[in-house]
């Protein structure tokens, strides 16, 4: 049985906090450092269905736009509305207040291939 709350990481530098069958998704602190100051976050509408690998969010820095992918199949439950007026929250608090969206998880087995914090840190070298 899974613990109540667990955080997973992807090789695309996303974090997924799973709590009670709901996944909250953001980009890692490493990712925001690489992107630099964000000026716009293009968020999906709640209710949108997503498949694993779909582009759900585009984060825009001064210089470039980067895709953020859905880590699992599911449906968007909520989005971080604060980012529309303050996209810099992703820079200042990437792994907490700068979360991007939450979603239901259609198939929890899709989480099995993801990394834990320790394994993710190792990929950063």
């Amino acid at each position: 049985m899974r613990p109540l709350s667990k955080t997973y990481y992807t090789e695309d530098h996303e974090w997924i906090r799973v709590d009670g069958g709901v996944a909250t998704v953001g980009i890692t602190n490493y990712a925001q450092e690489q992107l630099g100051d964000l000026v716009f976050v293009d968020l999906p509408a709640p209710g949108t269905s997503a498949s694993k690998g779909d582009t759900l969010v585009v984060v825009e820095s001064v210089k470039a736009a980067s895709d953020v992918f859905s880590p699992v199949d599911g449906e968007i439950k909520s989005i971080n509305e604060a980012l529309s007026s303050e996209p810099g929250l992703v820079n200042s608090a990437a792994e907490s207040d700068g979360w991007l969206w939450s979603m239901s998880i259609a198939d929890e087995s899709q989480l099995d291939g993801l990394m834990d914090a320790e394994a993710y840190q190792k990929t950063l070298g």
């Binding site: 630099g36 100051d37 000026v39 716009f40 825009e60 820095s61 001064v62 210089k63 470039a64 736009a65």
Partner: protein, 367 residues
């Protein structure tokens, strides 16, 4: 470029590493793209105080000889023979179709000497083109190896003075050689007052440390250099200009003396005169998105009926403007300010309107 190609390293690389630079490939060079303050702060610091840029990827080309002025007049739509010593001019190398091979700053240093500043990505093309046209002329063409720094912003002039570099007497778009091997102009690529200074590698570290050590100065990376020039409405070769684009469409006719608009000794003169007479099919314009969504290079522009009418060639966020900024080319009849257009961003139609350039009040006196 392919990843197997080796990137050129800046002579002051170690200094940038100590300053905490992040590096990124650009035009065959490993370039500082940002420093620890980050692109937003770097951009704003330049407009409020002074920013120091390492632009050693830019190519200086020294033309020296009795035919130097005649060669420039053959290469560029410039009245080179009558250009005053010390005057810098923004100009271009044009092909036979009046397409822009590169955009340049050409400074006359003496009767028989001119200094060209060319774009990194075009340097080898430019040098080959210039040498081809100089055949049989009495002029040497020497690409220089220099450290090239830009100091930009309202406090640049006082920083230079305090660093003991005598430059305050220069008016904007003029330059000289303060010491052997040095080349200094009052010019820049940010819309601010400022200077560009080229110097031999052995002199560079001390001067760079001195300028960067001034409390009013921050190192500024390529990312902020791009947002600064975009707000100032200045073109980036490869984005806003290329060999298919002529100076009339690009809105750069101001750089061509009136006496050369109906013809002249430079390559492309005939076609340029035809384009001027007929009017361009499309024009470069500023573009402002109505919301917060940045619209970037490559986006297709449509009219309200959905017809494709142009494309975005540069776009991003303007930290001083406080909103997204862009430039692009549109059908000439749609180039009027406030014309409503739409940009396709990932399948979404983003409302934009044609905006006057620049997006900021320029503080450079000229150019």
């Amino acid at each position: 470029m392919s990843e197997s190609e080796t990137l050129k390293e800046l002579p002051l690389k170690a200094l940038h590493e100590r300053a905490g630079a992040k590096f990124s490939p650009f035009a065959g060079w490993s370039m500082p793209v940002s420093y620890p303050p980050g692109v937003l702060k770097e951009h704003l610091h330049t407009r409020e105080h002074a920013g120091l840029f390492d632009i050693s990827h830019m190519q200086l080309i020294d033309l020296n000889g009795a035919d130097a002025a005649r060669l420039i007049a053959r290469l560029c739509p410039l009245e080179a023979e009558s250009q005053a010593a010390g005057a810098s001019k923004y100009t271009f190398l044009l092909n036979e179709n009046a397409g822009i091979i590169d955009d340049l700053i050409v400074t006359r240093l003496a009767d028989e000497r001119f200094m060209i500043v060319a774009n990194a990505a075009r340097a080898s093309v430019d040098v080959a083109w210039i040498r081809e046209r100089a055949k049989g002329m009495d002029v040497s063409i020497e690409p220089l190896q220099r450290v090239f720094l830009a100091l930009q912003g309202p406090e640049a002039v006082s920083v230079m003075a305090d660093a003991g570099i005598d430059a305050g007497h220069l008016s904007f778009m003029s330059g000289f050689e303060p010491r052997s091997g040095w080349f200094l102009t009052r010019s820049g690529y940010t819309g601010e007052d400022g200077f560009e200074i080229a110097l031999p590698i052995e002199d560079a570290e001390e001067i760079a440390e001195k300028l960067a050590g001034d409390a009013r100065v921050e190192w500024i990376g390529l990312a902020a250099r791009d947002s600064l020039r975009l707000e100032a409405g200045l073109c980036l070769y490869g984005n806003d200009l290329d060999e298919e684009t002529d100076p009339v469409s690009a809105g750069l006719i101001w750089a061509i003396p009136k006496g050369l608009r109906q013809g002249g000794p430079f390559t492309g003169a005939k076609r340029l005169a035809e384009i001027i007479a007929a009017g361009p099919d499309e024009k470069r314009v500023g573009l402002q998105a109505e919301g917060r969504q940045p619209v970037r290079a490559g986006a297709t522009l449509t009219d309200p009926a959905g017809n494709a009418v142009g494309r975005v060639t540069s776009g991003g966020f303007g930290p001083s403007a406080g909103h997204p900024v862009a430039m692009g080319y549109v059908r000439a009849d749609l180039a009027r300010p406030d014309t409503q257009l739409f940009a396709d961003v990932r399948g979404k139609q983003v409302a934009m309107r044609v905006a006057k350039l620049p997006f900021i009040v320029k503080r450079s006196q000229k150019g």
